[in-house]
């Protein structure tokens, strides 16, 4: 009647098999972030939509946090992990301030974050971090991380759900790849224009990106925040 495969057993009564019930600790809350380093400034931008699957949890949950007058961190991925990681960084920075009498430099925060992430190597923080700020010479600095702490200083980087859409655009406009234009550092106005265009384009094609865009501009004068609308569909 039925053809059987080798090793297959056909029975006429229900049989039970043990099933493992597991709790998946990770959730992806979506969103996109980017950071661009200039000659004497740094721009950190992120959208503010928080989602879970096809639902929107909130239209305004900021992904970026100001750590000091010189450093801003932005994180995407699992929001719970991002919140806890931010809290731990801020606590460590406060300990440092009391122990050494000065604010942690951007490079020091960068290395500390890498160590913090690797300490949870076997149950990682599901967070895509980008650290932006000014280095000790006053030049713009962007540090990018993977979830377990591998980090590198770069000129520009985007992370999150629309990173594949925006990264080639940044390669072309900031690093002048595949272009004959002489490499030069862009002005703040140009960088802000590129940032806004990146997000409006990403919002068109990525469902997890939209609602509002928050841009942190770090200069020697401090940190300034701009907020603009993105499409809410």
């Amino acid at each position: 009647m039925f053809s059987t495969y080798p090793g297959q057993v056909v029975v006429d009564h229900p049989i039970s098999v043990p099933i493992e019930h597991r709790f998946d600790p990770y959730v992806d809350n979506g969103g996109t972030l980017l950071s661009i380093a200039g000659e004497d400034f740094c721009v950190v931008a992120a959208d503010t939509r928080q989602s879970e699957g096809y639902s929107i949890n909130s239209r305004y949950v900021p992904k970026s946090v100001k750590l000091s007058d010189k450093t801003v961190i932005s994180m995407g991925g699992c929001y719970a992990d991002c919140l806890t990681l931010t809290k731990r960084i801020q606590q460590s920075m406060e300990w440092y301030q009391h122990a050494h009498g000065k604010t942690m430099s951007t490079a020091a925060v960068a290395q500390m974050l890498s160590i913090m992430l690797y300490q949870k190597r076997f149950f990682p923080f599901y967070s895509w971090c980008i650290l932006g700020g000014l280095d000790e010479e006053g030049k713009g600095a962007v540090y990018t991380y993977d979830p377990v702490g591998s980090y590198e200083r770069e000129t520009c980087r985007c992370a999150g759900s629309a990173s594949a859409l925006i990264q080639p655009f940044l390669d072309n406009q900031i690093n002048f790849k595949n272009q004959e234009t002489q490499k030069h550092t862009q002005s703040l106005e140009k960088v802000l224009r590129i940032t806004k265009d990146s997000f409006t384009s990403a919002t068109e094609r990525d469902i997890y990106t939209g609602d509002y865009l928050e841009i942190f501009v770090i200069t020697s004068k401090g940190v300034e925040v701009q907020k603009m609308d993105l499409k809410k569909d």
């Binding site: 594949a164 925006i166 990264q167 080639p168 655009f169 072309n172 595949n178 384009s201």
Partner: protein, 204 residues
């Protein structure tokens, strides 16, 4: 490992002012290994229409030949060239015929109709047509291409500017995809001529 990512490839088409452009990369790989750097994925269907076929390479070759056959038969029976919109529907039905064992390609069509109006569209692997007014993308690099095209495209680009725009979109997008690249071929179709240029990009 997805079957659509076995060989790699990227195709993009854009609409300009009284012209269209279609571009593809030239890599043929077997997963991580590159086999050929001369595997173009665009084919001329009629004097004013091109089809781009990214996806599984064996299906790319087979469907290129199938469409060449069908377009030739159409020309013999109708005694005229097939219009791009009709070709789109022909491609769609050919793919849907294999609904439950599909061809692993996601074609892109670009051309000028008999009044020289620009036409582009893309379909998924089972024939759902996307009639776009601006640009269409397909292949392993589609996310990167969406980002580039969405930022760089503007309406009513002249043929020379359209060439620059589509070239920059393709070259920067494939540089972020390890399965595509190794050069590019860009074709710009205008009412009086078709110009095909080969670009040298990062050879990795």
């Amino acid at each position: 490992m997805s079957i659509m990512e076995y060989n790699g490839g990227a195709v993009v088409a854009m609409v300009g002012k009284n012209c269209v452009a279609i571009a593809c990369d030239k890599r043929l790989g077997v997963q991580a290994m590159t086999i050929s750097t001369e595997f173009k994925k665009t084919f001329q269907a009629t004097p004013k229409t091109y089809i781009g076929l990214p996806g599984l390479a064996t299906d790319v070759q087979t469907l290129a030949e199938k469409f060449r056959f069908k377009v030739n038969m159409y020309r013999l029976k109708e005694e005229r060239e097939i219009e791009p919109r009709t070709l789109a529907h022909l491609v769609s039905s050919t793919l849907y015929e294999r609904r439950f064992g599909p061809w692993f390609v996601e074609p892109v069509i670009a051309g000028l109709d008999k009044e020289n109006r620009p036409f582009i569209c893309s379909t998924d692997l089972i024939g759902c047509i996307n009639f776009a007014k601006d640009f269409v993308v397909s292949g392993t690099t589609s996310n990167q291409l969406y980002g580039m095209c969405e930022s760089l495209w503007e309406p009513d680009l002249e043929p020379e500017d359209l060439f620059e725009t589509i070239s920059q979109s393709l070259m920067n997008a494939v540089d972020r995809d390890c399965l595509s690249g190794w050069g590019a071929e860009v074709t710009v179709i205008t009412p009086d001529k078709i110009i095909t240029r080969t670009l040298k990009s990062r050879q990795d």
